[in-house]
Symmetry: C2
Subunit: 658 residues, 2 copies
Amino acid sequence: MASSVVNKTAHAFDKGRLDALLNRRFFFAPAFEIYGGVAGLYDYGPPGSSLQANIIAEWRRHFIIEEHMLELDTTIMTPAPVFEASGHVARFADWMVKDTKTGDVLRADHLVKGVLEARLAGDKEARGLAGAAADAEKDAKRKKKSKTAATPSAVKLDDAVVKEYESILAQLDNYSGPELGQLCRKHAITNPDTGNEVGEPQQFNLMFASSIGPTGQHPGYLRPETAQGHFLNFSRLLEFNNGRVPFASAHIGRAFRNEISPRAGLLRVREFTMAEIEHYVDPEDKSHARFGEVRNVRLALLDRHIQAAGETTIQHMTVGEAVDKGVIANATLGYFLARIYLFLVKIGITPERLRFRQHMSNEMAHYAADCWDAEIQNSSGWTECVGCADRAAYDLSVHTARTGHQLVVRQALKEPIVTERAVPEFNKKNFGKTFGKDTAAVQLAVTNMNEEQLLKAKGELEQGSTTVVSTDGREHKLTPDLLSIERKTFKQSIREFTPNVIEPSFGLGRILYILLEHTFWCREQDIERGVLSLPPAVAPTKVLIVPLSAKEEFDPLVQEVSTKLRRAGVFSRVDDSNTSIGKRYARNDELGTPFGLTLDFASVQNRTMTLRERDTTQQLIGDIDAVITIVTELVQGTIDWPAACKRLPAYDGVQAVD
Amino acid sequence: MASSVVNKTAHAFDKGRLDALLNRRFFFAPAFEIYGGVAGLYDYGPPGSSLQANIIAEWRRHFIIEEHMLELDTTIMTPAPVFEASGHVARFADWMVKDTKTGDVLRADHLVKGVLEARLAGDKEARGLAGAAADAEKDAKRKKKSKTAATPSAVKLDDAVVKEYESILAQLDNYSGPELGQLCRKHAITNPDTGNEVGEPQQFNLMFASSIGPTGQHPGYLRPETAQGHFLNFSRLLEFNNGRVPFASAHIGRAFRNEISPRAGLLRVREFTMAEIEHYVDPEDKSHARFGEVRNVRLALLDRHIQAAGETTIQHMTVGEAVDKGVIANATLGYFLARIYLFLVKIGITPERLRFRQHMSNEMAHYAADCWDAEIQNSSGWTECVGCADRAAYDLSVHTARTGHQLVVRQALKEPIVTERAVPEFNKKNFGKTFGKDTAAVQLAVTNMNEEQLLKAKGELEQGSTTVVSTDGREHKLTPDLLSIERKTFKQSIREFTPNVIEPSFGLGRILYILLEHTFWCREQDIERGVLSLPPAVAPTKVLIVPLSAKEEFDPLVQEVSTKLRRAGVFSRVDDSNTSIGKRYARNDELGTPFGLTLDFASVQNRTMTLRERDTTQQLIGDIDAVITIVTELVQGTIDWPAACKRLPAYDGVQAVD
């Protein structure tokens, strides 16, 4: 009988063990593996597909349903003009460098990062920083194996050099291509695989190109994000929302980026599922009606000023404080940062390993008002998993400019805006007679006058005459028989504006992989027994039904329990394979199945059933229907395990299931 | 108060009205519309996305969960060698013809079909077939508008010509490219848009091409189906299923086909969501454990013999009969045809407009054992929506051959198979001495002998000598000092085989569009009031909550009802817009919302609420909680409307809501 205290940190995290588990149980695997595979492309097997589907379902509940967002499903294959207008054809690129001898292609910023991190690790080793040195070595071995970086050697660096490297790394995302080239030369950074020098950084566009139709005349790209699909449908969405802002559209779908040299598993891939929200707001009012609900959510923030100073110090503050102090640009942006935090923690991300990093000035798109990345710590460091940007009016404006289709909001003003303005009126007959071929030039000089100038001229005309200067520099005298200037009243009843867009954008594959890292551990007694402590909401299978054996006498009960669970909306699986109950549970701990139900001879005789919890391996016993009720509540999250323990007696029967 | 009898056929189906509704309410719309659009690419708006998501959820329940299929999510961007092995690079093509003057590209079979159908329609008109003529004209106008075919003119054809055209149309899918070219010449088929002749049919590969990685050296294609992603992962899937067959994998995902000239809305598109099942069976046993459950399902069948005879007569029979008579090749294929039928009817397809058409010999892939399309009748005729093929061992075999990775099942035999075989044994020394440089040739002649020949030679050797003939025709004498032949016992304990694959493959966009056609109608009293009678399971919104007005006094009740529904798993929306209740209901009839709840002053005072059904517009009234219970059961499909009417009194209050 299990009553062990769970110590999830008894064994240090071992990426090798996790990777072996994920591969063996087919959470995911390299795509086209039997053809030798292709870097950056992965297939999800049954547990991975199911975990992804559950994360998506939770995302849909947390964002789309909760906030009545308008969901879309738009097209991946996109004609070139769309991405010309959006700026992707010109700017959606990374800097790559070529090995000057082999021609191998490397991503410039990843090269600098890998080499400098390896040197810093070598320095730590040389300084004999005990734990650090061991970690560095282990880390380097792993990285070498996966070819992600250079091997450190134990070389001590000057203190000043260490400081410089750390400062470069803190600002890495802020460097331009030429600056990365300078860093390579200044710090003698070469291709770690060959030791050869690398050439000047060059831009490589990350979009996959194709062509549409049989004639080859219509170039197209696979979308690198779903966002343009929202923007192009803005007018339809606005109409669907009865013309009112704010509102949001949402889209879960595939996107493609032809990464230069992807080597980081699911953290950097060429094809991925993303979930994006475009929230449209009045540029003059970026408050959010539900901000009060999240005001007290505490976030770990790394703002742009701290990074620019070469530091990585985290500040903890509530979203309310951050918006009040201007650290986060506005309340809507703050609202979404808090909602992102709540979502990630709900699906099982460790809150202490989640931070929000603000983009630095060069890193941020020129049009963006503010941008934060939700970064989650994992075995590769801190990885961006969600971006959240205030993109201002950029996207809707560029498509309006390119197509002439007005992507704007028109609001009837409750009170028309009444303005008075001075308006010139020309006596055309006299004007022509007086100025002849200069008529148009003189009229233009008048209409170009601003309000102040017109009022001055009006006063002078009332005194007898005024003068204007045409663009060629000549002065012209105007008298009341040529021109009168009157103040008139104007009434505006419609306000027209281009909404601003706040865009939370989620990389679901990265979140999925890091969630697996955060929930993986090995039992204290037995390092071979891996467990994934996935929350019930996202676990691929919620309940495992384990009959003592595959004998027919258990069939009716298995059928009954499984049908009752399905009716209660709980997805279960039966494992009646020919192995011990303990082994079957261990196998399902690896799949993250949170609850197990054992059916044995007592079940047949007394209609009782035991309920086992994955993390503690504790077991309770009760009447079959009572246990179904409890396990349903556990899966739905309305009660937790300690509450269940108060409602059912512990099982300490003879039969060892563990 | 509504108590009208519903007459859904009072107005003839009007595609123009349906299309207008779908566009206006943003079920879907041409993608990149503000950029002028691209043929064959569509975006789904909120109701379309939701309808699609619900159809997918129902599909997942009906197939994946019900049959414990293994779900996958695989990669779209595929390296070229995969599609070279699968045959897609060589053969996944349509025949296109070019207008000899303008160079416009047309799909050859669609051209023949369009022109001959137009001539037949013109013939009917000339013969004065009343209804037919009107229909033909209307049909032609619509088709002309959407540019899908030629305009018929009222020209009477010879009876023999009519018969020939009908026979060609019945066999259209069976013609090769050169045959289509002959048809164009023989029947003077020209480009209907210009009247110009068309050139010889040429093959156009339908896969979108791209290239993977920064060097441009790795050609890739966007998958035109998800199937290869299943096959390449076969070994992992088999292991996941503990090495046992039969089992099935399933995948819902995007696929791409660069159609030559798509002009038929969602029925022919360049990017689409499909749902595919690959069911792996023992080639020696294609029975299905659950066949008994569907044996009595009655299907409308159009077999290959009837089509080859130029006919389109439907035969109605049960799946059991069809399999017993050999009309359907095997029980597993029959099982899936029945399951497909049940699924389509469950989501709302009219059963009378659903038939299964068998592929003809030329049409079917050369390796396939049998193939049936589920075709659904709609305003464009009969459209293939689901294919269901027995692909034999083709796919797994070609990938095994190309990669050397054995995609096979290895079964431990319960009883080892013991066989006796005659085996030649050579006395190598004597053999060499006797035959010198002919040694190898003579040995080969012996080892090439079959069992019967070996036994004959054995007998002759026992008599003194035997002879063999080497491949060059020379005869060689063999004696017992050179060769002995013995019968030996062999024991085989593992059976290895390549499973066969039964593949049901669903085009979800086609099903979605035709479902909208089948469920669309207009109220008898008012042709302007379109209704979509979508079943609750797939309707985008299940319940509409309609407070009498947006006044604050209704807010707590709206909140209460919406929260209680959400807890019961029912997705509702609130419409508190500033218009009459009748108008709000009418607007939601267009979205297919099956149930409405009205909250008025009586609700505030007495906690009562009315429940309105979309198709009948009938209303019931009851206590708020009682109504929530009833509407939850209605949405879950555990009761129907007549049953609800027995549990709650009809509402005949003063307030007209209709």
